[in-house]
């Protein structure tokens, strides 16, 4: 494909992935060809690498308010989520067979759950309300003596809704049920305290916070029984074998470090931009709607839908104007299915079609938002002119 005529690209897909921060790259570089030792080796080079690894682990544990030996590094959030579900299921199968997940989890949680079902576990799904908040009463009813694990994401990757994990954690604790939360989208954006949240397992990923791809973590509370997913030479205290990806993990830790330092100001800045987009668009464009919770939502997430048009077309129209967003429309999905998250919120198929997600981040400038607000209404209008569904109004 030829390069686009619009040379400046405005990236508004930070929820998908983020660029690696320059400071993070600088931090990682020595671990590629200077301190490249294997962190399990006991010679000097190995010891150096191990030091860097443990320092990184400390940064993680301080942020999560847990002990360093409760942090296990993995390769991706998908791996962490797979491990959490499968590892807990198999280690605790003598206690019970029921696992409860929310209906809006990421595919890696849902598909792990489905696979566990084929292995004889019983999977129950908690519904959500129209804003995407899990139904606590339903969860209470589903938690029985046979339940070993509940998995509810901290915030949703598509619609940005933040879930009441603290409350869910309390309910689980009272009943002696383990709680896992996929915090991939929340990590580094807000304070996460595993004690306060009452979670036993937590997933986080590096590439969502301006760190490199290929590094992630699973927090596992001390005393929790979990089977390893990857067997081998006994890395990560025998729980996750594989030569440790030291450069990526060093980068992950540095990335978190920067997020923590900037958290307060960045949160405020993004919320302001986010609200401005939502308010302006809902006002300017008829038959447009916000998906997800209006307030309990990630500072950087905007998920909008527009009647009469399709999301992939809108995304490509914006792309032509140099703006990069994402869509979960049926046409854009590999199976031509509407987003399970939007359907779970009770949004009809025809409405889910015209959905796009705009996610902001560290390098989003005020003027990028101005530009978006100028282009988006035009793009919607253009597609509505093409659509046979909208002959009269907008």
């Amino acid at each position: 494909m030829k390069t686009k005529k619009t040379s400046k690209r405005i990236y508004l897909d930070y929820a998908a992935t983020t660029p690696v921060d320059k400071a993070v790259i600088t931090c990682m570089l020595p671990y590629f060809n200077k301190n490249y030792g294997n962190s399990s080796s006991i010679h000097s080079m190995g010891v150096e690498a191990n030091k860097a690894l443990e320092k990184s682990r400390n940064i993680m544990s301080k942020y999560l308010k847990c002990s360093p030996n409760e942090i296990y590094f993995t390769s991706s959030a998908t791996e962490s989520n797979n491990w959490a579900l499968k590892g807990i299921a198999f280690a605790n199968k003598a206690k019970g067979k029921r696992i409860i997940v929310s209906s809006i989890e990421h595919d890696c949680v849902l598909n792990s759950a489905k696979w566990l079902e084929s292995q004889g576990f019983e999977i129950k799904y908690i519904s959500v309300n129209k804003d995407g908040v899990v139904n606590i009463n339903e969860l209470k009813k589903l938690m029985n003596k046979d339940t070993i694990l509940v998995s509810v994401m901290h915030s949703n990757n598509e619609i940005g809704t933040i879930e009441p994990i603290e409350e869910i954690g309390r309910l689980c604790k009272e009943r002696g049920i383990l709680l896992h939360t996929d915090a991939s989208q929340s990590f580094g954006k807000m304070n996460l305290d595993v004690e306060k949240l009452n979670v036993d397992l937590l997933t986080a990923s590096s590439h969502k916070i301006y760190g490199p791809k290929g590094a992630a973590l699973l927090y596992v509370r001390n005393g929790v029984n979990i089977e390893p997913l990857i067997h081998g030479g006994g890395h990560e205290r025998g729980k996750r074998s594989s030569t440790v990806n030291v450069p990526a993990i060093v980068g992950f830790a540095k990335a978190l470090d920067i997020c923590i330092k900037e958290m307060k100001t960045e949160d405020k800045r993004l919320i302001k931009l986010r609200n401005k987009v939502i308010k302006t668009i809902l006002k300017k464009i008829p038959q447009s709607y916000l998906n997800g919770h209006p307030v309990k939502r990630l500072s950087n997430n905007i998920n909008l839908r527009f009647d009469f048009i399709e999301g992939e077309a809108l995304m490509m129209e914006l792309d032509d104007k140099g703006i990069e967003v994402s869509t979960a429309s049926a046409c854009s999905s590999p199976k031509l299915e509407s987003s399970h998250v939007l359907l779970a919120c009770g949004i009809e198929k025809k409405e889910a079609q015209g959905t796009i997600r705009i996610s902001l981040g560290r390098f989003t400038k005020d003027k990028d938002i101005e530009y978006l607000l100028e282009i988006l209404p035009k793009a919607v209008k253009k597609l509505r002119v093409i659509s046979p569904m909208n002959l009269k109004n907008c």
Partner: protein, 160 residues
Amino acid sequence: MYTDKVLKYFHKPRNLGKIKNADGIGKVGNLACGDMMYLYIKVENIKGKEVITNVKFQTFGCVAAIATSSAITEMVKGKTIEEALKVTNDEIIESLDGLPPIKIHCSVLATEALAEAIYDYLKKSNKPTPKDLEKKHESIVRHNEELEERYEEWMENQKE
């Protein structure tokens, strides 16, 4: 994933819109993703031949759906009805330098919309309909019913 040609047709669709007093209208939809395509034709008798002299489209759907519906209008404009019915979705795809495999069905929809428009024209003008066109029509009608239900509310908008 899309070729430059697809993007070109998508960004600058040809023959977009509606024909008032069209001789034939084809309304088809895709059950899987829910896209809808409307195709309008004007047919004139030129030297004893029924020629499609004007054709327009409207599409609610993805990039491929918009591009293929625009492309087919260009391909059949000026053709006789018999010629137009021979246009295959492979030819449309070829004219666009290819489509991603998952988007092939969008091009099928374009040929169906055309077939329906021609069917509509033949019916309205009390002319015989070829057998395979009749067959195509039957299957289209079946899945259209379900889509009409889905879009009922939005279609209400169109009644002026």
